[in-house]
């Protein structure tokens, strides 16, 4: 048992090439994959947790678990789905924990709104975002996940099912209910 454990240590106790052996992809491939996925995953984590600092931590954790998982991926879409599944599980873990004092996600978009040339009225844009955040908070965690993946991420039903660990056949109905609820909540605040 010790020999096995020490051989694992030996394998990792070297240069970057050793680390490559412990992960499911090499550093070059990871950089490409990370650059394509980090921002969408961060946005998902930030919206689902409501805490940008926590999203930073969860982002690191998500990629670590992704790298350590020995899973054969057919293509990048499969890798992305798998990453979102990890992120979803992390968010679920966070929801189960007692909530500590967190930075508000409402602080994040204001700076972004100011830099957005398409936003004619910064105050209005911020207000709309607060309305959306409040409406999202009134949905169940699963409804939030579904709606984000479907309408923010643009994922297909198959991809949503893979990311959330649900049956594809149930996505249509779940999404319909979630969408109807959110639309009603947004109409209440004159969207």
């Amino acid at each position: 048992m010790r020999d096995v454990a020490l051989s694992a240590l030996d394998r990792l106790d070297g240069d970057a090439a050793d680390a490559d052996a412990a992960f499911q992809m090499d550093e070059g491939a990871f950089r490409i994959f990370y650059d394509r996925t980090a921002r969408p995953v961060w946005a998902y984590l930030a919206r689902m947790t409501g805490d940008p600092r926590l999203a930073d931590d969860l982002l690191q954790e998500a990629y670590y678990r992704f790298l350590r998982a020995r899973v054969d991926h057919d293509n990048e879409a499969h890798q992305r789905n798998y990453l979102f599944r990890i992120a979803t599980n992390l968010v679920r873990d966070v929801r189960r924990r007692p909530r500590a004092e967190a930075a508000s996600i409402a602080d994040v978009p204001r700076a972004a709104d100011a830099a957005d040339p398409r936003t004619a009225d910064v105050a209005d844009a911020a207000a709309l975002r607060v309305d959306l955040a409040r409406a999202m908070q009134r949905l169940s965690p699963r409804e939030r996940d579904l709606l984000w993946l479907a309408y923010a991420q643009g994922s297909s039903h198959d991809e949503i099912a893979a990311a959330l660990g649900l049956k594809t056949s149930s996505i249509k109905m779940l999404l319909f209910r979630a969408r109807r609820r959110l639309a009603a909540l947004l109409r209440e605040v004159n969207w």
Binding site: A5, R31, A43, Y63, K172, L182
Partner: protein, 167 residues
């Protein structure tokens, strides 16, 4: 009706920034009469706008930093895994040492009692030839041994718990 074949068209128009101004009139007319697409036309722009803003605000660490942290953590976990059996054997050895020490103490104590009992026996024999009160000695000895065994049984898991507590 829980879905609509035009739902994807509405979402595409939203995602590419064509909704509502640059969307075909026919699609706009459809949305006006379709409850499913009407909901999509409310929800999708809100979610897309939110995502756009969040992604613009996102400042994730570089891939190099995330990779480096992951490498460090993987090494630390491997080291921890390698140390784990050593820690367990150290705990077992510690428990054995404690048991031996307890046995020695019990032996010394027993020898003291036996010596005292023998001296008492000789004195009684010399004086009155009456039988020595040795009947209770065997029970007392057995109680001591039993106490030692119980102590070891209790100590071993406690020692293991503290040795492996950080895991």
């Amino acid at each position: 009706m829980i879905d609509c074949p035009r739902e994807a068209d509405v979402f595409e128009a939203v995602a590419f920034g064509r909704w509502p101004a640059q969307a075909p009139r026919e699609l706009q007319a459809h949305v006006a009469g379709c409850p499913v697409c009407r909901d999509v036309a409310v929800v999708a722009p809100a979610m897309q706008g939110d995502r756009r803003q969040l992604m613009r605000a996102a400042e994730p660490p570089t891939a190099a930093i995330v990779w480096w942290r992951a490498t460090i953590r993987a090494r630390a976990e491997a080291a921890h895994t390698a140390m784990r059996p050593m820690t367990m054997w150290q705990a077992v050895a510690g428990t054995c040492v404690a048991a031996v020490a307890a046995a020695i103490v019990a032996g010394v104590w027993r020898a003291g009692i036996a010596g005292a009992a023998a001296a008492d026996l000789l004195a009684r024999l010399a004086i009155s030839r009456a039988p020595a009160p040795l009947a209770g000695f065997g029970v007392e000895q057995a109680m001591l041994v039993l106490a030692g065994v119980v102590a070891c049984i209790v100590l071993a898991p406690v020692a293991l718990y503290f040795a492996l507590a950080d895991e």
